[in-house]
Amino acid sequence: MLRSKRARKTVFAIFWYIVLGITAVAVMLPYIWMLSTSLKGSDEVFAYPPNWIPRTWRFQNYVEAWNAAPFGRYFLNSAVVALAVTIGQLITCSLAAFAFARMEFKGKDVMFALFLSTTMISTQVTLVPSYLVLKTLRWLDTYQALIVPFLANAFGVFMMRQYFMTLPRELEDAAKLDGCGRLRFLWQVLLPLSKPIVASQALFAFMGNWNSYLWPLIVTTSEHMRTLQIGLRYFVSQEGGTQWGIFMAATVFVSVPIVLFYLFVQKSFVEGIATTGLKGA
């Protein structure tokens, strides 16, 4: 009886690992292809049947990619902007979410609905008005232009509010009895318990900003304010051919920070799940 149960468990585990393995390979394929292409010469990129391992390894692609544009500066700009937006969003979203989840005030539901409705307006619609606002503030071609418009995010507020609402009221009551103020409760009790959602929100904010292209292109004109994604665009040719090997080499080093950031956040993600609950509170 016990044996067969364990056997069944093993079979089940093997089955799951196969499913997970296939999914992992499917997810990884584009990245592996990117890596493979980044080491190929132009004559190999379109070879048919495709070869996954380059016949001649062309590490030169990375050197050429790095030298094609001032990527050092682009990295700095992207890092400053993405980190500032991520931190800013975590602060504004958690405060707003806390108010919507835990406080009672007049017009709360209407305001929340208004917040949510902004998620239905696409960026293209607000592009020109936002540009005009920045122009009036004389912020075009500055860090403010890249950071300030993204410091608040309705979807983040929504996500965090939903999560805060699932945490038991008793926590707040207990904290109140101990003389804990609202801000301190948010900072010391609610946020530590909400690590998974904080981690997801941070990841969304960071990735969204790291990858954004249209907005930085429109609001910056000088070389030293440009971000990484605009640098990548430099490899895509207008009517002629794109140098795929070099383009993919640049794509590899541009996407590395996102992978690192994910690994970093993933840890607190798991940790957060493990410590969620009333235990020890």
Partner: protein
């Protein structure tokens, strides 16, 4: 040719301008343009070419700066034709700082905003040039409303890329590429093969790059059809001449089966991988294709109707000069534009990219002759320029290009007859024209 993107940008910009119905005051290009103590004039130059062609543009700018101590050009890449046009429209609309010179596609459409100076103000001036040295079609390509607005810079025409190895394997003479559409069909049938015998074609005879509107327009023109009427109030491509050519296109897919239906996005990759015999595409891609192929590459002019001349509709970008109250800045801007588009500039660009030189006598330039000896494929589009033609630039051109691509797709998929598809396209575009007036 990514004119579609640019025109989307344009149409958006136009829509914005008209929707808001506000007075268009002249934008003020100033910042960065004031002469410094040393009387050096700084010019901002926005351009839209990247990769190796972008490097060629930068090299030209450096040459200019080195040879003109009193002018400094600050060149920055601003994205594709569509993106750079979006930026320009945004700047015009917000009365924001514009550059002094920009490299744009569809440039003449900016004419009616009042933001740019007609280039003829400079070409006809004291420091002017002899315009007759440059192809007429290129001047027409830079005209709108009877005025030449911009200076031709990087231009390309569609050419037929073909795989000489596949030609030889199919028993065709690689030195005799097809010159007529009948031959394209004949050759295509020999090239279309099911190489592994599984009942599915895995080597196609013919296809075009994704900007199908460009190639179908060329075919319309070859058959004497017109794109738009004189007054530019309606498009004319539902005429029998145009329908006949779209019918031919559809027949290549459905009757002769030498072209796969609706697979233009994959066509370039298929060709480079050796799975496609002939590809119609911009000549701008010749140098990179020559590097990317592992087979013997051939290039031929666009095919024609038997007994008639081919038509090579020109594409590419131009240089514009924005208005300024300061004549010194305008003079400096023209000096720069003149340098970039001079025979030397044109030689540099055409020997570092797939774009054609804009001068009629280019084939007589010794330096170009030396270059073409090593790169014989690039001779083909230059010689084809004798058939160059400019599709008229009208504000609904973006909508028109999109409508034509849809019409082509409908016919390829059998969703409409050529007449129906073109009637629908015409209705959409005419409506758009009416809305813009």
């Amino acid at each position: 040719m990514k004119r579609n993107l640019l025109l989307i940008g344009l149409v958006l910009g136009l829509a914005l301008l008209s929707a808001c119905g506000r007075e268009q005051s002249e934008p003020t290009p100033t910042a960065g343009a004031e002469p410094t103590e040393e009387q050096v004039i700084t010019l901002e130059f926005w351009y839209a070419l990247s990769g190796k062609t972008g490097e060629a543009v930068e090299a030209l700018v450096e040459q200019f700066n080195a040879s003109h101590p009193n002018i400094h050009v600050n060149a920055t890449y601003q994205g594709s034709y569509g993106e750079i046009m979006g930026k320009v429209w945004n700047a015009i609309y917000a009365e924001q700082t514009l550059p002094q010179v920009a490299h744009l596609g569809g440039a003449p459409l900016l004419g009616k905003t009042g933001a740019i100076v007609p280039i003829t103000d400079f070409t006809e001036g004291a420091n002017g040039i002899d315009r007759s040295q440059i192809y007429d079609a290129l001047w027409e390509y830079n005209s709108a409303g009877g005025q030449i607005w911009s200076m031709p810079f990087n231009n390309s025409v569609p050419v037929l890329y073909y795989n000489r190895d596949l030609f030889a394997a199919a028993g065709l003479d690689p030195d005799r590429p097809p010159t007529t559409w009948d031959e394209v069909i004949e050759y295509g049938q020999a090239l279309t093969q099911d190489t592994d015998g599984n009942g599915e074609v895995d080597q196609w005879g013919f296809n075009t790059h994704r900007d199908t509107h460009w190639y179908i327009s060329a075919m319309f023109l070859e058959n004497g059809a017109q794109i738009v009427n004189e007054e530019q109030t309606e498009v004319l491509y539902n005429s029998p001449e145009a329908v006949e050519m779209l019918q031919l296109w559809g027949d290549m897919v459905n009757k002769y089966q030498i072209m796969p239906p609706a697979q233009h996005k994959e066509a370039k990759g298929d060709f480079l991988a050796g799975k496609l015999g002939m590809l119609l595409r911009s000549c701008a891609g010749i140098p990179s294709a020559a590097e990317e192929v592992t087979f013997d590459l051939g290039v031929a002019p666009i095919p024609a109707i038997a007994g008639r001349d081919p038509v090579e509709p020109v594409g590419g970008g131009s240089l514009v000069i924005f208005r300024s109250d300061d004549q010194a800045i305008l003079d400096a801007a023209w000096e720069f534009v003149k340098f970039m588009t001079s025979p030397d500039g044109s030689l540099h660009l055409s020997t570092h990219s797939g774009y054609v030189p804009i001068y009629k006598d280019a084939l007589e330039w010794p330096d170009l002759q030396v270059y073409l000896e090593e790169h014989p494929l690039q001779r083909v589009p230059i010689e084809a320029l004798q058939y160059s033609y400019a599709i008229p630039v009208f504000p609904a051109l973006g909508t028109s290009d999109g409508a034509l691509r849809q019409a082509v797709e409908k016919v390829e998929l059998g969703a409409a007859t050529p007449q129906e598809a073109l009637n629908e396209a015409k209705a959409v575009v005419d409506k758009n024209i009416a809305e813009q007036q």
